[in-house]
């Protein structure tokens, strides 16, 4: 029994879906951000496995970029979380209703 590319991709899809579930259902802003990180992580996994199975290092390089972006994103996102908490005294995402039509 050999581990193939498909196994990794399926794992990546599963992790991605779980992350999506978190983003869509959780109302705690911090947990939503964490779920986003999970999604990013699953994508990274897909990149790495493609790099390995195609024998191309570009996937790994791309992952480094993705990690950088993720770090920046988390930094900015958490700054916003702090702001929002100071403003609303709550981390409930449903309070942010500025998009209401």
């Amino acid at each position: 029994m050999e581990v193939t590319l498909n196994h990794y991709i399926v794992l990546s899809v599963i992790l991605f879906v779980i992350g999506t579930y978190g983003v869509l259902t959780r109302r705690n802003l911090i947990v939503v951000l964490m779920s986003l990180e999970l999604m990013l992580n699953s994508c990274n996994l897909a990149f790495i496995s493609f790099a390995y199975f195609l024998g191309d290092l570009t996937g790994q390089i791309f992952m480094i970029m993705a990690i950088t972006v993720a770090a920046a994103e988390v930094a900015v996102g958490l700054a916003f979380v702090v702001l929002i908490y100071n403003h609303n005294n709550s981390l409930d995402i449903d309070i942010l209703k500025l998009l209401r039509g």
């Binding site: 999970l38 390089i61 988390v74």
Partner: protein, 167 residues
Amino acid sequence: MAEALVFYIFAALCIFGSIIVVTHKNPVASAISMVLTFFFTAVLFILLRAQFIAVIQVLVYAGAIIVLFLFTVMFLNIKEDAMQFDGRNIAKKVTFLFVIIAVAGFFGSKLIVNSGQKAPEIENFGSVESVGRELFTEFLLPFELTSVLIIVAIIGVVTIAKRSKSS
């Protein structure tokens, strides 16, 4: 064979960890569980001959990002009742989870049917040397640009934080 065993164990751990991340009521527990998930993923990276990336994963994610998360949670000092809003609509959420997993299973089954591809054997694949060579030759410009991105992020965060202080 041993490789497959390792993969399955850590894949299962990854999935388990992520589920805890998205379902646990306590954000701190979520964060801790996330660290573990990232560790397990790093193990999978090593299986994929991406040792350098695995190290970076542990350093950046587990080291920096998670600390940032935990720090924020602690800093905001969120009380238990401020989290009450997340306890509602459990039935709906569970239904949703099943739907999502069903969709994912559909795609997964589609993929499983196709036979896998064997990895080519390349000398030094994924070592620090080869990744570094690639990074500083072909991808020099994007690499430098990421530093610009980080600077921008730093400045942005500082600005936002400052404004919060004044208000």
